[in-house]
Symmetry: C2
Subunit: 361 residues, 2 copies
DNA sequence: ATGAAAGCGCTAACAA
DNA sequence: TTGTTAGCGCTTTCAT
């Protein structure tokens, strides 16, 4: 594909596409100047810029970001790895990330891991091959995540979303205070008069958040002189209810001195549990109260609307991205990364009233 | 940042990163050969390949896809534009797209439009600047979509997901047959004994699918000698129920000779309507039956499980991507694009039984 | 404020 | 089968 083998001293060769070179040529400026018009407009004189812009318009110039990113040695791409979008928590979070990133001139690449370590590895590799400048991600358990260790080892900047970084750790995160907010949630249950409150969780071992929220539950119980009950752990992420699942819940809520309130560690779980209870003829909140955690919008759409500990999902995404960019661009290409930048950003939760919590039966 | 300004005839300059050049050097082969090991392994001898692979391993080589994509003049990036991920339909679709794309060695860039034309334009421009080879997208109304017209004009390959391309049009799409499937759905209502059936829809004017499904409804009614009723059009995409909305539904279902069954043009709408009915003390399906459309997994999680016309959302995504790739790689870099390739792929729907449909009151 | 020149890391003719 | 070579489109010193 050699073009213009005949041109000697003449200007290189008219390439076909609407590239910067052609824009520059049409505007009668150098490639460098044309480039500056788009990346550093303040470095070029007003009228020169206008000529370039006009030429660009006429040629239908569309900057090729691949070229820019390759050359610039910073791709301005942020990789995003979320467990799944089928849980609205993460869908809402993505929207926050997307708005924030595009507003700052950053590009995004999204992958979903389904909490599968093998997939996580592979997807991260995919992102790294695209030379993302950094990552925003949620893992099942930050404390034992192979993928985070790899990232640490390679020195790839990342910010966790939802996973709450250790207070004195080196990792960055944006989340609510899972433990404190869970405690606050359970305390609304206690305030409603409940004494026998149990936690319902997805795969406990797998999720650091489930564990932290469970601890918050224990805090609340102990602070009020109540006995923490053994939790019900459900196989997470089931698309539909298995008979075995239904049966376990039946036993759980009909046993002698069964709990009068259930604290589910996430909203999807709560919604599923409420459906099962209804199927079993157990009234919510008449017979059993149910409190969720997450604050997905869907919860408010249901009847009764889900009572829940709401996280600002959109904002978690937006702030996680903002935090990452702050690390990537220390004071707009200024000094070293501010060491006092707080590692774990804690956003306020909210207690959403709903109507799935009532007084004990 | 000039390195090695002293090197004269000597080999260029040892660059720092683990690049292909360095791998090649370490393996004692040329850049071209090293490249082939990764892109066209069949062109290189077994043992040579192994040496290269080993060198790559030792250097911790990670291919820079930015370089590859820039040079190759085909980015192998597919742009994806979906209205929102907060509707599980599209979240499920994304997962199908993601699996399919990564399995084929393609990269993805996702944007969400919220059905907002301004955002659509802007997001498409963003994707085009990244030099996506093609697009998979869902628009509100394919028949009057500025963005599709632009794409057509620019000759950008794309495949619609969910939007059903006209039978004899030039556009490609992957969807169910909205009209036929809607008719089938409404016929289950009729089979259950309903005579007064009404459509509930989001923004009617905005969505081509809502219109097509409404036509399917009319087909069913007429075929059975029934009188189509005026539809109830609800402000779409409301996160929560406004009092006005509740009131409109109350009047709708309590009017004299009110419908005994409602066909909602999508599942989220159905879920919201069911909640409102419950709040109004109207039993589903005791007093009014409700049929949804979409088949999101969430529907089965509720109690009663949502009766719905199910689309294969995952597969719609996967197939749309497959269709696009088939256009991008005519018979694996063979002949011209097969003109007989069907434009509108119609996938089978399924009637999901659920329990929100019963006999008329 | 602008230009000249040197690549970013990779692929793909073409030649050997 | 392998190597040589010429860039993809852009940004960025450095010099003017």
């Amino acid at each position: 594909m050699r073009r213009n083998a005949t041109a000697l001293a003449a200007p290189p060769a008219p390439s076909n596409g609407a590239t910067l070179v052609n824009v520059a040529r049409a505007a009668g400026v150098s490639l460098a100047t044309a480039s500056r018009v788009f990346s550093n407009p303040e470095l070029v004189r007003q009228d020169t810029a206008e000529r370039v812009l006009q030429a660009a318009g006429e040629l239908g110039f569309r900057p090729n970001l691949l070229g820019a990113k390759l050359r610039a040695q910073r791709s301005r791409i942020v990789g995003v790895m979320l467990p799944t979008l089928e849980n609205a928590v993460f869908a809402e979070c993505w929207h926050g990330i997307e708005e924030a990133a595009l507003a700052q001139g950053y590009s995004l690449m999204l992958v979903t891991s389904r909490y599968d370590p093998a997939r996580e590895r592979e997807r991260i590799e995919y992102l790294l091959r695209h030379r993302v400048d950094g990552l925003v991600l949620t893992v099942a358990d930050a404390a034992r995540s192979a993928v985070l260790e790899q990232l640490d080892a390679e020195g790839v900047p990342y910010v966790l979303a939802y996973n709450q970084a250790a207070r004195r750790g080196k990792r960055y995160s944006v989340s609510v205070d899972n433990r404190v907010s869970a405690r606050a949630g359970v305390e609304t249950l206690i305030a409603a008069g409940h004494r026998r409150i149990a936690v319902v969780s997805g795969a406990f071992v797998a999720s650091d958040r489930a564990r932290q929220r469970h601890m918050g539950y224990q805090d609340a119980m102990r602070a009020h002189g109540l006995q923490p009950l053994p939790p019900l752990s459900l196989p997470a992420h089931t698309p539909t209810h298995t008979p075995a699942e239904v049966e376990r819940i039946r036993q759980f809520v009909t046993a002698p001195s069964a709990p009068t309130a259930l604290f589910c560690t996430n909203d999807m779980l709560a919604i599923g549990v409420i459906a099962i209870l209804k199927r079993l003829g157990v009234s919510v909140p008449g017979d059993v109260s149910v409190l969720g955690y997450d604050g997905i919008e869907l919860g408010q759409l249901l009847e009764p609307p889900l009572s829940t500990v709401a996280q600002p999902n959109n904002e978690i995404g937006a702030r996680a991205l903002g935090c990452l960019l702050a690390r990537l661009e220390p004071a707009s290409a200024g000094a070293a990364p501010d060491p006092r930048l707080p590692r774990a950003t804690l956003l306020p939760h909210a207690l959403r009233e709903g109507a799935t919590v009532g007084p004990p039966a």
